[in-house]
């Protein structure tokens, strides 16, 4: 992870892209605006002196507590968080990017939240985004081929969402 000087250069190149920084965490991370994600990624890969040429993983975390009793105690408001772990094979440093999204697009249940795909920057994002779509229900706009990858194509729902309910049966196979 880089120091504040690195963040200043990013801020100068793309004003308003950085929403927050968490430098005191074990893995320091930078939270960026969803609208500028692709620009930030392209800058990180092509212009920054660290050259983050490798995307290690794309992870979605669903921040939602289905249990109303526990939900009253949590300190965060429900949202979905996307985490991009970047790595530079040139300077051998890592970087954690985070993007906050609403759980549902326009807060309409069933409407998947949208974020731009980075598959045009790192080809590995293709499969990783397909996995995040499949399991966590994130719609990556501009993705070349957004289909389920691990679950069957006719599977319903996105299992890693906290409010996911296992179907009673799947093609006559009891599931619950």
């Amino acid at each position: 992870m880089r120091g504040p000087a690195f963040l200043e250069r990013l801020e100068a190149a793309l004003p308003g892209a950085i929403v927050a920084t968490h430098l005191e965490a074990i893995d320091p991370s930078v939270e960026v605006a969803a609208e500028q994600l692709v620009d930030v990624c392209r800058w990180l890969k092509e212009s920054s002196d660290s050259r983050f040429d490798s995307l290690e993983s794309v992870t979605a975390v669903d921040w939602f507590e289905p249990d109303p009793k526990k939900a009253a105690k949590v300190t965060w408001s429900p949202h979905t968080e996307l985490i991009y772990h970047l790595w530079s094979t040139v300077s051998r440093v890592s970087l954690v990017l985070k993007v906050k999204l609403p759980r549902w697009k326009g807060d309409v249940p069933g409407q998947l939240p949208e974020v731009a795909s980075v598959a045009g920057i790192w080809r590995t994002a293709d499969w990783h985004e397909r996995e995040a779509y499949d399991l966590s229900g994130i719609h990556f706009t501009g993705h070349p081929d957004l289909r389920r990858i691990l679950c069957p194509e006719d599977w319903e729902g996105h299992p890693l969402r906290k409010d996911y309910e296992m179907p009673l049966e799947y093609h006559g196979i009891r599931a619950k």
Binding site: D27, S54, E56, S57, T59, V61, I83, T89, R123
Partner: protein, 402 residues
């Protein structure tokens, strides 16, 4: 004139029109290493497109991880890369220890190096033996499994299991090594060392093997990085990266004081290549042969590391230390840690919320990224080369599908 046309076989070939054909390969095909399904679009013998279909082993281990404590999830990591379960145990244990800011004892550190490097040898032996099988030769498979069996015997004596160990755990290991184990391990290494030459004679320098692998499935350095490839697939393309040396300090500290050279071709030479077979003239950096050769070099490298670890471990007189409690509470926060598993860089991401059960668990699989490059490697190759390319990636489906 008509006589002439009939006699010239070339003219008949031009006469026959070939059509595109879809060929389904797998998920029960013997050379797809488990339940990988490939749909090949072919024109005659030439493959124009490969579409991998994965997920046949999907158990949503990440969802299971959200319902168990961090230590209870260790057996599930066994079942991801079941050919190198020790290495998977270590990856997850280190990630949890990173979140808890926990440091294991010196004895546990050397024990871990010893065990995971043996695990790497056994994984590469399967990779090598199965690769021979993919290319139509049965003997190397038996030779490889003969030696692997001895490693499994050692593991069985240490932890009671032969495949899914759950041995390395959060805070150290479940038990110390039994008395007399180190001597047995040394005996194994002594008799294993000369066997490596047999493998080189059987495969590495075998003319048929070279014909089948050299110059086939060439993966360029840039493409390897772009597709997130790692491990021997990345190093086979000439990228000098090994997390045991270049990774996070949390992980590299484990190898502090150990001497090893990363198995990668630099300036046209592999390290210590004077004592190993020369690179055949047909081989191109990044082809199947190089990926295979990197694995063979890593077997020797791991043997060396195991010897070093035995010395350090036996010099350690302090106790191993107890592993953390089964329901130990996790601090609030998130961590990501990648370790160098035999198949590549295996990453674990973990979000703790103050309870013993993680809020979110994520396994970034190395084979998943390594397999995603397959359609690029297979474009324009022969149908017979598809198993050669898939085998050279050495993927394990349990880890891809999770």
């Amino acid at each position: 004139m008509a006589q002439l046309v009939d006699d010239d076989p070339r003219i008949i070939e031009f006469d026959v029109r070939t059509d595109e054909m879809l060929i389904n390969m797998g998920p029960q095909h013997p050379s797809t290493h488990g339940v990988l399904r490939l749909v090949l679009r072919t024109d005659g013998e030439i493959v124009s497109q490969v579409e991998p279909h994965i997920g046949y082993l999907h158990r949503c281990a990440e969802k299971i991880g959200e319902n168990l404590s961090a230590r209870q999830w260790i057996p599930y990591t066994d079942r991801m890369d079941y050919l190198a379960a020790m290495n998977m145990n270590l990856g997850w244990s280190l990630a949890v220890e990173k979140l808890m800011r926990h440091e294991v004892s010196e004895r546990a550190r050397h024990l871990r190096v010893l065990i995971v490097e043996l695990g790497r040898i056994s994984s590469h032996l399967v990779g090598m033996g199965a690769y021979g099988l993919d290319l139509g030769t049965f003997s190397p498979f038996l030779y490889a499994f003969r030696e692997r069996e001895k490693i499994l015997d050692l593991f069985e004596e240490a932890c009671g299991a032969r495949l899914t160990y759950s041995y390395i755990t959060v805070g150290g290991a479940t038990a110390d090594l039994p008395p007399g184990w180190l001597a047995k391990c040394e005996t194994f290494l002594d008799q294993f060392e000369p066997v490596i030459q047999e493998y080189h004679a059987l495969l590495t320098t075998n003319a048929i093997f070279i014909k089948r692998t050299a110059g086939v499935g060439v993966l360029s350095r840039e493409m390897a990085i772009d597709y997130g490839c790692s491990g021997p697939v990345l190093r086979g393309s000439g990228v000098d990266q090994d997390l045991r040396r270049d990774g996070e300090s949390m992980y590299t500290a484990m190898y502090d004081g150990y001497a090893f050279e990363v198995a990668v071709q630099k300036n046209g030479h592999y390290p210590r290549d004077h004592s190993y077979p020369a690179v055949p003239p047909d081989a191109v950096l990044g082809d199947c042969w190089h990926r295979f050769f990197v694995r063979m070099l890593e077997v020797v490298q791991s043997m060396d590391l195991v010897r070093q670890a035995i010395d350090r471990y036996s010099a350690c007189k302090e106790p191993l230390g107890e592993p953390l409690k089964l329901m130990e509470k996790l601090p609030v926060g998130d961590v990501y840690l990648e370790t160098e598993c035999p198949k590549g860089q295996m990453g674990f991401y973990l979000v703790g919320d103050g309870s013993p059960i993680p809020w979110r668990v994520r396994a970034r699989s190395s084979s998943f990224s390594n397999l995603s490059v397959l359609h690029e490697l297979c474009r324009g190759c022969l149908i017979a080369d598809v198993p050669a390319i898939v085998g050279s990636l050495d993927v394990v489906m349990g880890e891809i599908d999770r």
